[in-house]
């Protein structure tokens, strides 16, 4: 099939061997790429292992649209068995490494085993070397990026971890290009456990497409369509930061550890403040609507902001100043910590302090203590030790009812949307295939535009539709979803792009089926790896059911557990899962997942 490099590069860090193997056509057809390839490889190869042992594998996976001359295609999915959740974990990242991996002749790179000493991988087309990483170990992600660029040139794609990944902090991430991050469920820690500090990828080749001329023509039209959108100029100025004002107006901002949905000081943190202080804009390769807004932080160093990190390190922990939030964000990026989980863990500690469950005094918005906590978490020291495995484990350690406001699903901290008054979005968090993530189905906007407080079957159907498009198609084709969702770029382009790339005409029904296959395999993976996994894992935290909002237009509103339960049952029915949330034999067989069916059910 055209449009693929057609190879998986494997590097065994234990013995230094590398090999390239063919990707079967059936795997391309059934799983498309990106998340699909990663889920298939993890299912086949990573079974019942400790996520931080050498038996785990970390997968860097692209899709057929990655690196192509079409809108926002510079993406890669990083996946592994998660040390934070114990289940399937992945995240996408926009990076030149995605583009260069394909140019080097690979769709996927799998790192397995464990190096005896700190190392990094140098991939230059077919040449693969394991390099001494002792000079890099201990360096933050900005310093290490500079060092590797000096050594190997700027025309290389670099993925790396910070000291938090080296210290195997369970919500450390993989970073790139000083501010790009991916792999929220602790994939930085997986690299750290392998003594793998970085990947440096250089590629000089090209992948033949089915019809390059056509792709060039329709790719150009796509870029032009995006630029012509009425919302484009505003997007370029504020990017995702416009969401802060939007969420505050709609009472779905995370404030004070998701206790409230509005924040009194939100106007000091929003997109309009960003516009005034912005010094630069950057983002992923091949994108003409880059969303990385750079501001100077309170110590005058550049920091790349977007809504999620400002939402979680701002209102969620009571911070009132954007430059100070930017400094916390910069620290998180240097240490290689996920900003969403970091904001949640700091919020957890602030609430624990307020409730006098810990002796330390950490007030909401305490900037000095927040900085100290980031260092403690990155080093796994002091109070940082309590939360460095995430809020689920922290609440198990602390007890005293703290699990009710430990804001996670399946062990992954919830991203920046308060769902007291958004049952559909709460279900989206509940059923996301990696835990409390918004990226698969941001149904909240649709929900607010319809009957916000309803618990309808229609809402569940819409959620699944979004999961199929966002978590299925975009993650597998491995291009960014933001052109579609943020400036209404037409979905009709994507079958055309894939046809020009692969020569195969597919429609959205085909993409939905691939998405369903991937979702079911991931679901089966959770069940195989965690035998007690089931329905109970799909609920958001008690706080949203038990403590109504006390401020704003939705004052007094909380989720209704019984009606949420009904929506969850509908979700399982529509997915073809049993009422414990496990795919049935018929569903797995229908999707061609016979091996999973055999292993799960017999």
């Amino acid at each position: 099939m055209k449009g693929y490099a057609g190879k998986i590069l494997r590097v065994d860090l234990s013995n230094g061997r590398s090999s390239a193997e063919e990707i079967p056509d059936g795997m391309k057809r059934d799983f498309l790429g990106g998340r699909g390839f990663a889920a298939k490889l993890l299912w086949d190869e990573v079974k019942h292992v400790d996520p931080l042992s050498e038996k785990n594998k970390i997968i860097f996976s692209t899709g057929p649209l990655t690196g192509q001359s079409l809108p926002s295609s510079g993406k890669m999915v990083i996946a592994s068995k998660s040390p934070l959740t114990g289940g399937y974990g992945d995240g996408n990242i926009g990076t030149m490494a995605a583009v260069y991996l394909r140019k080097a002749g690979y769709d996927v790179m799998v790192a397995e085993g464990k190096s005896e000493k700190p190392c990094y991988l140098l991939i230059e087309d077919e040449k693969v070397k394991i390099m001494d990483g002792s000079e890099l170990w201990g360096k933050n992600t900005f310093e290490a990026q500079d060092l590797l660029e000096r050594k190997h040139g700027r025309n290389s794609g670099i993925l790396l971890i910070g000291p938090a990944g080296e210290n195997q902090i369970r919500f450390s991430v993989v970073m790139s290009q000083k501010g790009r991050a991916g792999g929220r469920p602790g994939l930085g820690a997986v690299m750290g456990s392998k003594n793998l500090k970085a990947l440096v990828i250089k590629g000089t080749g090209s992948i033949p497409n089915f019809d390059d001329e056509k792709l060039k023509e329709i790719g150009k039209k796509g870029y032009e369509e995006i630029k012509g959108k009425e919302s484009y100029d505003f997007w370029v100025r504020q990017g995702t930061m416009q969401v802060l004002d939007w969420c505050n107006e709609n009472t779905c901002l995370p404030a004070l550890n998701f206790r409230e949905g509005i924040f009194e000081y939100s106007k000091q943190l929003d997109g309009y403040v960003l516009e005034k202080t912005k010094i630069d804009r950057k983002g992923c390769p091949l994108c003409n609507m880059q969303c990385g807004n750079i501001v100077n932080d309170s110590s005058n160093r550049p920091s790349e902001l977007d809504y999620e990190n400002v939402g979680m390190l701002g209102p969620n922990i009571g911070m009132r100043s954007l430059p100070e939030v930017a400094l916390l964000n910069r620290m998180a990026d240097e240490w290689g910590l996920d900003t969403i989980s970091l904001g949640s863990t700091i919020g957890f500690l602030m609430e624990a302090s307020e409730k006098k469950l810990i002796p330390e005094k950490i007030g909401w918005g305490d900037f000095e203590r927040a900085q100290k906590l980031i260092i403690d978490i990155g080093k796994d020291e002091g109070l940082g030790k309590l939360v460095s495995r995430g809020v689920r484990t922290a609440s198990e350690t602390l007890g005293k009812g703290s699990h009710r406001w430990a804001m996670h699903v399946k062990g992954l901290e919830i991203s920046a949307y308060n769902c007291h008054a958004c049952p559909g979005m709460a279900l989206s968090f509940g059923t996301s295939p990696i835990g409390g993530s918004h990226k698969d189905a941001w149904v909240i906007s649709w929900e607010i535009s319809t009957d916000r407080l309803s618990y309808s079957k229609e809402k569940v159907e819409k959620l699944i539709e979004f999961q199929r498009i966002r978590g299925g198609f975009f993650e597998c084709a491995t291009v960014c979803r933001l052109p579609w969702v943020e400036v209404s770029f037409g979905l009709h382009w994507y079958p055309e792009y894939l046809e020009a790339v692969t020569g195969s005409r597919m429609n959205w029904e085909d993409f939905y089926k691939i998405g369903d296959r991937v979702y079911n395999l991931i679901r089966a993976y959770w069940k195989r790896e965690i035998p007690q996994f089931g329905r109970g894992w799909d609920y958001p935290p008690d706080r949203w059911f038990e403590e109504p909002l006390s401020q704003g237009k939705m004052e007094g509103v909380k989720l209704d557990r019984q009606r949420f339960d009904q929506m969850l049952s509908w979700y399982y029915e529509l997915r073809g899962w049993d009422q414990n949330g496990i795919p049935t034999k018929a569903t797995l067989d229908h999707l061609g997942l016979r091996e999973a069916s055999k292993e799960m059910i017999g």
Binding site: D233, Q238, V243, E249, D306, E308
Partner: protein, 72 residues
């Protein structure tokens, strides 16, 4: 007087983040907005309830008009 609040790029379209209008009689929202106002991917809330461009607006109403977003 009816209060209209515009979020995101829609504030640019009307040239203001908020607008107050005094109405003699109930008037459809469409008539209050500029002719060039986008009608797709827009959320309209009138006194916290979902509305449309055909909804009749009267003095005392609080209207929020916002784009459909994704949130990163």
């Amino acid at each position: 007087m009816a209060e209209l609040k515009f979020l995101g790029y829609l504030a640019e379209v009307v040239g203001a983040r908020t607008k107050n209008v005094v109405l003699d009689k109930p008037t459809s929202l469409r008539k209050i907005l500029p002719a060039s106002f986008p009608e797709e991917n827009v959320i309209i809330l009138i006194d916290k309830k979902v509305g449309s461009f055909d909804s009749l607006i009267e003095n005392g109403n609080s209207i929020i008009i916002m784009p459909v977003l994704s949130g990163g």
